[in-house]
């Protein structure tokens, strides 16, 4: 192959030239500016909003409060006010807004708005929120509209729950010789993308709504705006531009409805709402917190037999995508292993914290932290090697039943191969060389992983390919570009299929929902698989039209035409060709007769044979593919500072790569992000529910000095037959093993078992004191001797 499988540079080279355009850079003439006012309480009744003074500020056009928008919006459940009505539900909740001719005037006026509150007791912990006497975040939950697969429990804080049942759990545990039971905790964290959310909206006199904003999925934004505001879909035009990072945080219902509604009230004037970093942390949904209660059993010869779990997600004030993440972790409640008896209940629970939504991995990194810790703890109890234990239980394509009782397709991938290869690359079984400093300890840790997109069973995609009269090609797809590189991979596929260089292919950086092909969303590592499959069909369609014309011209059958190097030639006579350019707009014979006409290929994708989960058991085929892999690390724990340094990180993915360099970029990025989440990241709240670290000073994302000394990755090239060139999704997968692998390596290094994230230095020292006090004594002793 000439283009597929090659590490060609990304096609979005404007990003290094400096003229890539983001929504952040977009302006419209006559644009006015909105500023939101944040509530200083986590839970409080709104008694009065006074804004007379604000209206007097020169340049102020309007002040809005919750009363101006008496309806609720939301993605799977309409649980969200446009601006808070009756009460505020979290610290930072927008309670009023100003629109003014300048941002300065809007900011000044916003400061003059006075809101009187009556504080209410907040509920700040998901377990507390589950208790029967907990304060209710949403008293009117019974009134909320919601998707049919979401099950809120009115009168409680439960936003949804999911039941997974396989086999008979009592029978499973009766067969178990060893059982481990633990509770794991992971805090709320931030997606930490760099482009703060911005949206510029205008309404036209014919009722058309236009929005330019920072989002992952233009068609999801269109659909949500139309549904929430009761607009016809074709009257909503969403413009997607380059996106400065999303990581799931720009996938759900964002803030587009706010400038749109303001523009409607202001006679269609373009309204810009741009968040600063702190506002972004308050107004944009973050990632949920998690409690995982798990009980897992195995026989003495190392066969997993039973897994019981109760998973509780802290969804914050609005549950956005988190209700679906509760489904995600509920349907994939354990690693890629076969277990006969599984019983899991998962819940998303409202609290008075920032709203939450998707984050790269959609709950799988989080559940695998707990599940892959369980695996190591079971292996330890069994006296078995953790890798061997995993290989004994790993899913076998074509044979095994997953936790949702799906028989894996024969070409599903190579879970065992990934585990073996990762073990080989980390030199599993060879103990790490211990450093000479007696307070430093090294260890190795392992974790296996899997994931497929969590999406409706009919999440569709489409593609359109237009041939131009110089043989170049315009490709219309709907998937967003947020750095993941899908459009480069799609261009490589076009180049390969048509035999034309990538330079002759344009996939415009902008997506306008009324001018590009539909795709459901840009999430779940589904883009390349879904949009890629649609694109291959579009290219097939185009090629069949090309063959038809060439066959007519050369008076041969269509199967006697082959397309290569941008030409259609007679098989066996490569000198008898017509260039694609010659037939792009219709082929003309020497006498002037023309045939064909402009050539346009179109293709569609819809996941095949996926099913809706059974509400009682979760039984389903929930995804069109799974990517399987394994990660392993070698860490060094410093018992003076409590710091953990990852020396070496290995990742193996079973899938082929369309562009190995871009896959490497995903792997390195996901590795650094995942390890940082394991060790440092946490949104902190005080006892009143105030978010304490809404900026990059106190919320520490990884920097260049924090990365592992060595990062190694490998793809096994085991493809799924219906995937484009076999390639399955990668973006989210690169996050999944790290918290578990690092925790397992710490246990291996110092014999301390950790059950909570992040594994910060103070936490590690505290746990060493509890679990291995003699180790600290030894360190102290050694230091004394050294003086």
């Amino acid at each position: 192959m000439k283009y597929v499988g090659k590490s060609i540079p990304r096609i979005d080279r404007e990003k290094v030239a400096g003229d890539a355009e983001y929504a952040y850079d977009f302006t419209l003439p006559g644009m006015v500016y909105a500023k939101l006012v944040a509530a200083p309480y986590a839970h409080a009744k709104i008694l009065k909003v006074k804004y007379d003074e604000a209206l007097k500020v020169p340049g102020v056009l309007a002040v809005f409060t919750g009363a101006d928008f008496p309806f609720k919006v939301g993605i799977y459940a309409a649980d969200r006010d446009v601006l808070a009505r009756e009460k505020v539900l979290y610290y930072g909740h927008p309670v009023a807004a100003v629109v003014a001719e300048t941002l300065e005037a809007a900011e000044k006026a916003a400061e003059l708005i006075e809101v009187e509150y009556e504080p209410l007791p907040p509920v700040l912990d998901a377990l507390e929120a589950m208790k029967p006497d907990a304060p209710l975040v949403h008293e009117k939950l019974h009134e909320y509209k919601h998707a049919p697969f979401i099950y809120p429990k009115p009168g409680t804080n439960i936003a949804t729950y999911l039941k997974l049942r396989k086999g008979n759990i009592e029978e499973g545990f009766s067969k178990a010789d060893v059982v481990v039971e633990n509770t794991y905790y992971e805090p709320l964290i931030s997606q930490g993308y760099l482009e703060n959310w911005v949206g510029i909206a205008r309404v036209k006199s014919d009722g058309t709504v236009e929005i330019w904003s920072s989002h992952q999925s233009p068609f999801a934004v269109r659909n949500l705006l139309a549904t929430s505001l009761g607009l016809p879909i074709h009257k909503v035009v969403v413009h997607h531009m380059y996106l400065g990072g999303g990581f799931g945080g720009k996938a759900g219902l964002l803030l587009e409805h706010i400038p749109v509604l303001f523009s409607m009230k202001l006679g269609g004037r373009p309204v810009r709402l741009e968040l600063n970093r702190e506002e972004n942390s308050f107004y944009m949904a973050q990632r949920a917190g998690y409690y995982f209660k798990m009980k897992t059993g195995a026989t003495k010869d190392g066969k997993l037999v039973a897994h019981w779990g109760e998973y509780i997600l802290d969804a914050g004030a609005y549950a956005d995508y988190t209700v679906n993440i509760a489904r995600s972790v509920g349907l994939k409640p354990f690693g890629p292993f076969e277990i006969e008896h599984v019983h899991v209940d998962s819940y998303a629970v409202y609290t008075n914290k920032v709203p939450t939504t998707a984050f790269r991995g959609f709950g799988l990194m989080e559940v695998l932290f707990a599940a892959e810790r369980q695996m190591d703890l079971l292996a330890k109890k069994l006296g078995m090697d953790p890798v061997e234990f995993r290989l004994k239980n790993v899913l076998v394509p074509g044979k095994s039943l997953t936790h949702t009782q799906e028989r894996l397709r024969e070409d599903a991938g190579d879970p065992a191969g990934a585990i073996r290869e990762a073990a080989r690359l980390i030199e599993w079984g060879k103990p790490p060389e211990q450093p000479k400093e007696p307070w430093k300890f090294r260890g190795k840790g392992f974790a296996a992983f899997w994931k497929g997109p969590v999406q409706p069973s009919n999440a569709a995609a489409s593609a359109i390919v237009k041939l131009n009269d110089d043989g170049s090609v315009d490709v219309l797809v709907g998937t967003g570009e947020m750095g993941q590189g899908t459009i480069t991979a799609l261009a490589q596929i076009v180049a390969e299929e048509l035999g034309i260089p990538v330079e002759k292919i344009r996939i415009a950086p902008e997506r306008r929902t009324d001018m590009v092909a539909y795709t459901w969303q840009t999430v779940g590592s589904r883009g390349l698989f879904s949009d890629g499959q649609a694109l291959i069909r579009a290219l097939e369609d185009l090629k069949s039209q090309i063959r038809k014309i060439a066959a007519q011209v050369f008076r041969v059958f269509e199967d006697q035409i082959e397309i290569r190097d941008g030409k259609a030639c007679v098989v066996g006579e490569p000198w008898e060709c017509i260039s694609l350019a010659e037939m792009a707009l219709g082929y003309m014979y020497p006498n002037g007769n023309a045939i064909g006409g402009p050539l346009i290929g179109r293709g569609s994708h819809v996941p095949v044979r996926n099913t809706i989960p059974d509400p009682e058991t979760g039984k389903s085929v929930p995804a069109p593919f799974y990517t399987f892999g394994a990660g392993a690390v070698e860490v060094e724990v410093d018992l003076i500072s409590g710091r953990v340094k990852v020396l070496k990180a290995v990742m193996v993915l079973d899938t082929p790569a369309i562009n190995p360099m871009l896959v490497a970029g995903q792997v390195y990025g996901g590795t650094v992000m995942g390890i940082n989440i394991a060790l440092i990241e946490e949104l902190k709240f005080d006892e009143n529910g105030r978010l304490l670290n809404p900026n990059f000073t106190e919320y520490k994302v990884a920097r260049a000095g924090d990365i592992p000394d060595e990062m190694i990755f490998k793809t096994l090239g085991v493809g799924q037959k219906d995937a484009p060139y076999g390639a399955k999704g990668v973006g989210e997968l690169t996050m999944l093993p790290w918290p578990a692998a690092v925790a397992n390596a710490i246990a291996n290094a110092i014999g301390v078992e950790l059950y909570e994230l992040p594994m910060k230095p103070d936490k590690i020292i505290e746990e060493v004191k509890k679990q291995r006090p003699e180790l600290l004594e030894k360190v102290k002793e050694a230091l004394k001797i050294k003086g």
Partner: protein, 164 residues
Amino acid sequence: MAEKLIPITLKVNGREYKVEVKPNETLLFVLRNKLNIKSVKGSCYRGECGVCTVLLNGKPVKSCLVLAVEADGAEITTLEGLAPFGTLAPIQKAFLEHGAFQCGFCTSGFILTAHWLLTHNPDATEEEIKEAISGLICRCTGYKQIIEAIKAAAKYYKQDKQKQ
């Protein structure tokens, strides 16, 4: 109360701009909103993330922390200023060829900082590269390919130094 406007001169990418600014306006604000130079981004607005980095008289600064009036008379280079329009400087090419960017929002800050580093120290070690970019945040790449790109571009700066 009308705020006083101060006339200043900025030489950006070789071109001179005369512009009136308020005393509290940052260089970032003026570059983006008054001179329409959009390659310079803003994210944290408090000197933590470095996406607003520009070269001020040849040195990288975070333009969100510099007042426009402080930059009066200064020469400023942004990403567009590294190579003639339509071409890429070696450091830009290296970023492209090594996959050293993803979403691209931080890229301008990294490339300008790398350009400054290699101009002064084309023999920079991996540790020195990490040190030089430690004030910048990239949430996408994991830095590895950025470091590789900077290492790869070093040879062009060495050649330039030898020519001088």
